[in-house]
Symmetry: C2
Subunit: 366 residues, 2 copies
Amino acid sequence: MTMPKKSLQPTMDLVRAGVNRHLAGFLAEAIAKTPHAPGFTPLFDDLAEFVLRPGKRIRPLIYLAAARFFQPDNVWLAPSRLACAGSLELLHAFILIHDDIIDRSELRRGEPSLHKLLERRTSTFSDRQRIGSNLALVMGDVLFAMGQRCLLESGEPKAAQQLSRLLGYIIETGVGEASDIVFGTRDVGKIDLDDIELMYLQKTTRYTIEAPLVLAAILGDATEEQLKELAVIAEPAGLAFQIQNDLEEFRKFEVSDEAISSDLLEGKKTCLMRTAFEMLNETDQGILQLCLNGIQPSEATASKVRELVIKSGATLRLQNRVETLCSRSLQNVCESSFDASIREGLEGIITMLCQITKPVSHEVAV
Amino acid sequence: MTMPKKSLQPTMDLVRAGVNRHLAGFLAEAIAKTPHAPGFTPLFDDLAEFVLRPGKRIRPLIYLAAARFFQPDNVWLAPSRLACAGSLELLHAFILIHDDIIDRSELRRGEPSLHKLLERRTSTFSDRQRIGSNLALVMGDVLFAMGQRCLLESGEPKAAQQLSRLLGYIIETGVGEASDIVFGTRDVGKIDLDDIELMYLQKTTRYTIEAPLVLAAILGDATEEQLKELAVIAEPAGLAFQIQNDLEEFRKFEVSDEAISSDLLEGKKTCLMRTAFEMLNETDQGILQLCLNGIQPSEATASKVRELVIKSGATLRLQNRVETLCSRSLQNVCESSFDASIREGLEGIITMLCQITKPVSHEVAV
């Protein structure tokens, strides 16, 4: 049975609440069974608070929704399934923690990033930033290990096979993250849009969309061929999701100087910047390149970038691209070899992804 | 059949060579099957070179030796067993990579640390150090995931159960590392020796000694009670191993200013420093405290620390403690409930640990 499209929102809220309860319980237990001195407790408190902040929970939602049609039974919010779904969120949080250190992001989900939280816990007078980053690096590693344990001990019948597959996606995420760092040091004009799109796929979208679908399909004994079909379905939607994210970030910055994204601060080579570059005349290209070259740009360079991006018309082009990509994903669902009920379910998930970029209100997700 | 003690060295060399061959093959394959742009290859080359540097391979050696007597059969250097042993080395290398970032260590096993290697790969002019650290952070995460995949896909019959247990040790390692960072910001006189010893156990010795023994015992269907006995056996030897490491580092620094350890540079609160503090008079205690307070001490403070440690007589006291701890481990082997053949094997491993602190020559371990 697939989810009726009209009542998607209440179902999603229910599922999110279930995932959040499970995550809170898992973390409390995992922390309690890890030997630590009493003085260490605040570090764990920060870690748990960070993980449990309201978020979209896209990865668990996709896994649970897909598991429901790949292996139809009455256990779709059973503890083993919630544990497996929750492990995806734990691994996502670990990736965010390390990502925030790398990007020197001070905020995550509207609150201080973990390294900023931990910085406040140190009693040292000098080098506080470094101590905060070092502690967050290690606590990220701890969360990585906890996330895997959560999956491995979930009780899902194919947990080991799922984890093995998931680790492949995490390796790719690391490669994507490294590409992002390397691109940050290069001129925007010298990087192909294709390479940026590959980086997006590796860094974010495969573990976000393809991985939960594939893990759910493993439950339903999908063939290797079918797992490849899922990749073909997930890829355009994932890319759309990530480009949409670029556009949202830029829209916030369009209305407020305060909302400058860490991508811009770090001179990240996003699809938006690359597309704007391509659409500008030669003089403006040179100026954009200069503005994006320096790490930690000034207010002046940031507003110049804004001006040039608007002038280029890149946002409209990318908005169209997002729509094309979403349609392609849906098309790929239709053309896949899955049963009608699975195709209907996949269509629901892809449609949900195209709607989910709206921020979640506090009351819903706590 | 346990290893005859007299021929231990040739056996160890053989095993090390087997582990190294397996690691090289695994890494080459894991890298080949991870999609990456050609420009990314040098980063993987650096990672592989880092992992494959000659080292003692203590963790794989302990696992293989213990697996031989916990589950006696003729496959003790079979591929599945070597893969499981190798995964311990991969995870160790991941821990070293992150540890070196945290400690800003420039060298590892006599060559540049990974973040220093990767720094050389960046074409950026500014912020090279940060780019190098960020890349090493991510490549460390990649190696963490590869290490777990190596175990999970090893073909060992209880790989999932082994990994689940191993993840517990890795979580503890993170907690130990975080304690080490926190202690670095506190006065040496305000930390109990017991807390430093617990930090040693968590940060290093449990995953180094207890984990390989426990993973091997899982192969042989050991009971939960027996796994606890292994912890009691491993703990004193592990602590001895780590204190011995403090002493070795200090001995090098005693003969050469160049050999100043990163522990000292980072104001780490080692057992040696804490013991020296305890054994000094009040005036000297105050001076030692001051010298250890600053992060990145000057040459003058470093040589003052050396002078005070020598004056305190702490090295002799700790040398005695190492011997006491080794004897206690052997005693715990005798008093354990294992069969005579297993006890004999454990005795061999503990004895090996007390001898293995000598550096490995290049020819042996390549």
